[in-house]
């Protein structure tokens, strides 16, 4: 087994998790909601990509963009219809609503497009490059480069733009932000749009990578991405990226060592150990509760 090879495979899987984890972490950071419907946005993103690529013959960039834009709108719509009415109720009620939305999207998709797995349109010719010490396929390069580009873009939006500043302010203290003239509802909408578009990009990329999509595909990666977000410290953007890559690499390495069946168990075990040592995740700060 080649260590470098596994690292490359882990990185490409991990960047998908990271894209998803960013959405979880941003939403959690701003409204403290574990958005369980996030994995379904990823699934929808993959399906939208499937339809536009098949019916309109869009190329990779155009497919990605269409899917991201539609999912951004969808994310805002879900936030507006399902989560906004619950803004002031208990967090557990919001959580159940998120689970309900996730069930709803899954079952609607199963009802309308069928539960069977379908092959993904090949948007590009896949070539495997042999670099001597490891092999890398064109799709893997596209996945890693696109994800890194999107992550950097997100980092730029959050750190440098006015909207990003509003997001950061609203996540620290929504009420104070409101007092300072920030439209918190608008900011939350924007956060959902950003997160959902990243998930959509992840969905299209995973469709290319595994060449198969189905309406239930969002469940497991959704959970993994949430774990990735917790792993890195939920609410922290670089933490989510780090967590995503870490989970991807751990998974690939455990599989490569021949423990495929124990893959998920190992991921969870490492997560629990991390949480016990650093209860707020790898990059999180421990904040003592005030009395």
């Amino acid at each position: 087994m080649n260590v470098l090879q596994q690292l490359v495979n882990g990185l490409s899987l991990g960047s998908i998790y990271a894209l998803l984890a960013l959405g979880y972490t941003m939403v959690y950071g701003i409204i403290k909601l574990i958005n369980f419907a996030h994995g379904e946005i990823y699934m929808l993103g993959a399906f939208i990509g499937y339809y536009v690529a098949n019916n309109f013959g869009f190329g990779l960039v155009l497919t990605l963009l269409t899917s991201m834009i539609i999912c951004a709108i969808l994310g805002m719509l879900i936030e507006f219809l399902a989560y906004r009415p619950l803004r002031n109720s208990t967090r557990i009620a919001a959580l159940i609503t998120a689970i309900g939305v996730s069930f709803l999207l899954q079952s609607l998709m199963i009802y309308f497009v069928g539960a069977d797995t379908r092959p993904y349109p090949q948007l590009m010719k896949n070539i495997t490059y042999d670099l001597g010490i490891f092999q890398i396929s064109k799709i893997q390069i596209v996945i890693i480069v696109t994800s890194l580009f999107l992550m950097l873009l997100l980092q730029f939006i959050v750190q440098q733009t006015k909207m990003g500043r509003a997001m950061r302010a609203a996540s620290v203290d929504p009420e104070a932000a409101q007092l300072m003239g920030i439209n918190v509802n608008y900011t939350i909408s924007f956060t959902f749009a950003l997160g959902s578009s990243l998930a959509a990009a992840g969905g299209v990329l995973i469709g290319l990578y595994y060449n198969s999509i189905d309406p239930m595909m969002g469940v497991a990666p959704g959970l993994k991405a949430f774990i990735a977000a917790v792993f890195g410290g939920i609410g922290i953007i670089p933490g989510a990226a780090l967590g995503g890559f870490a989970i991807g690499i751990i998974e690939t390495v455990v599989s490569a060592l021949g423990f495929t069946a124990y893959r998920d168990a190992v991921v969870y075990l490492i997560l629990i150990i991390v949480l016990l040592v650093k209860p707020s995740g790898l990059l999180g700060k421990n904040i003592k509760e005030k009395v």
Binding site: Y28, I34, A82, P85, L86, S89, T90, I92, A93, A94, L95, I96, T97, I99, G100, V101, F103, L104, Q106, S107, L108, I110, Y111, L223, F226, I227, V230, I234, A261, Y262, D264, A265, Y268, L269, L271, I272, L275, L276, P279, S280, E289, V291
Partner: protein, 317 residues
């Protein structure tokens, strides 16, 4: 103490009356097999949700790993009854599953219950997935992903009913005991409780262990009733199913849990006829109910015999 005995007596009488009504419908043949299955599933869900409500609603710890403990109970009982196909074997399995689940909960609970809120949720979710993963991989004992089948059936609707009553009586009495009040104080304000000398960790762990043990009992009954179990029965979605019952009924309200389990069970039965759109209706109902009644059906209200006795006098907690 005497008063509690009296209240328990009245509860017992109510339970006997309900049992009598059910027994009459059963003996007159009014109860179809579908209804009977629904009844058993409702009962099992009540046991599961009551245990989880003790953890979430009373001690205020957010656990997402209930299905894992159910799996321990289900597999232990199943393996025991296959090895020893008699009612004694079944009961031994049930007790063993209960003990095993309690031990696992204790081992897991002591370190993880230091975590708070969502971190605890994800840790318990992890624990339950690890349990499921182990079950999947212990081929010799659990038959791996293929699951166990041909489990001898010993569970009848009346036995489930009996266990539901026992669980509810035990849990409500625990809530009203001194330990239960301490547990409630942990939920209300951890720091205040700690400064009043309440051993916070101890009560969290006790609630968690009781929850795990009741889940194991429910799991054992489930495996014996459906006669076939696969690891997939006890995945994350099962934990969510139980969580939905708890939240739907009202976090912290045992009455709510029972009402929600019955309503959701009946909803499930009637939705069977709708086939493909069943899940759509179910999910849609869930979202709508949460939006319009986010505190659950009964909030924290509790049907209380004591309050009825004192004719709406003192507020009963």
């Amino acid at each position: 103490m005497k008063e509690r005995l009296k209240i328990n007596g009245i509860w017992l009488a109510i339970m006997v009356v309900i049992f009598a009504i059910l027994a009459i419908t059963y003996s007159t043949g009014l109860m179809s097999p579908v209804v009977e299955t629904t009844l058993v599933m409702i009962g099992i869900n009540i046991i599961l949700a009551a245990g989880l409500n003790l953890v979430i609603g009373i001690s205020g710890q957010f656990s997402l790993g209930h299905a894992g403990f159910m799996a321990i109970g289900a597999y232990t009982t199943a393996i025991m009854t296959i090895k020893m196909p008699s009612i004694v074997g079944f009961l031994i399995g049930l007790v063993l599953g209960c003990i095993l689940s309690g031990i696992v909960a204790l081992l897991v609970g002591i370190p993880t219950l230091r975590l708070s809120g969502d971190y605890l949720a994800i840790a318990t979710l992890g624990v339950s997935e690890i349990i499921r993963s182990l079950i999947m991989n212990m081929d010799q004992i659990t038959n791996g992903p293929a699951g166990l089948f041909g489990i001898p059936p010993f569970v009848t609707w009346s036995m489930v009913y009996l266990f539901v009553c026992i669980t509810l009586i035990l849990i409500t009495n625990y809530i009203h005991s001194a330990a239960g009040r301490a547990t409630l104080s942990v939920r209300e304000n951890l720091i205040a409780a700690e400064s009043m000398g309440v051993n916070v960790t101890k009560y969290k762990v006790v609630a968690f262990v009781i929850g795990a043990m009741t889940a194991a009992v429910a799991g054992g009954m489930y495996s014996s009733y459906v006669q076939t179990i696969v690891p997939g029965n006890f995945d994350f979605m099962k934990s969510i199913d139980i969580l939905i019952i708890v939240v739907f009924g009202g976090v912290g309200s045992m009455t709510g849990t029972v009402v929600a389990a019955v309503l959701l069970g009946m909803l499930n039965m009637y939705l069977q006829d709708f086939g493909a759109i069943r899940m759509i209706i179910y999910a849609f109902a869930l979202v709508i109910i949460m939006i319009f009644k986010p505190s659950g059906l009964l909030g924290t209200k509790e049907f209380s015999v004591k309050k009825l006795l004192s004719k709406g006098g003192k507020q009963h907690v």
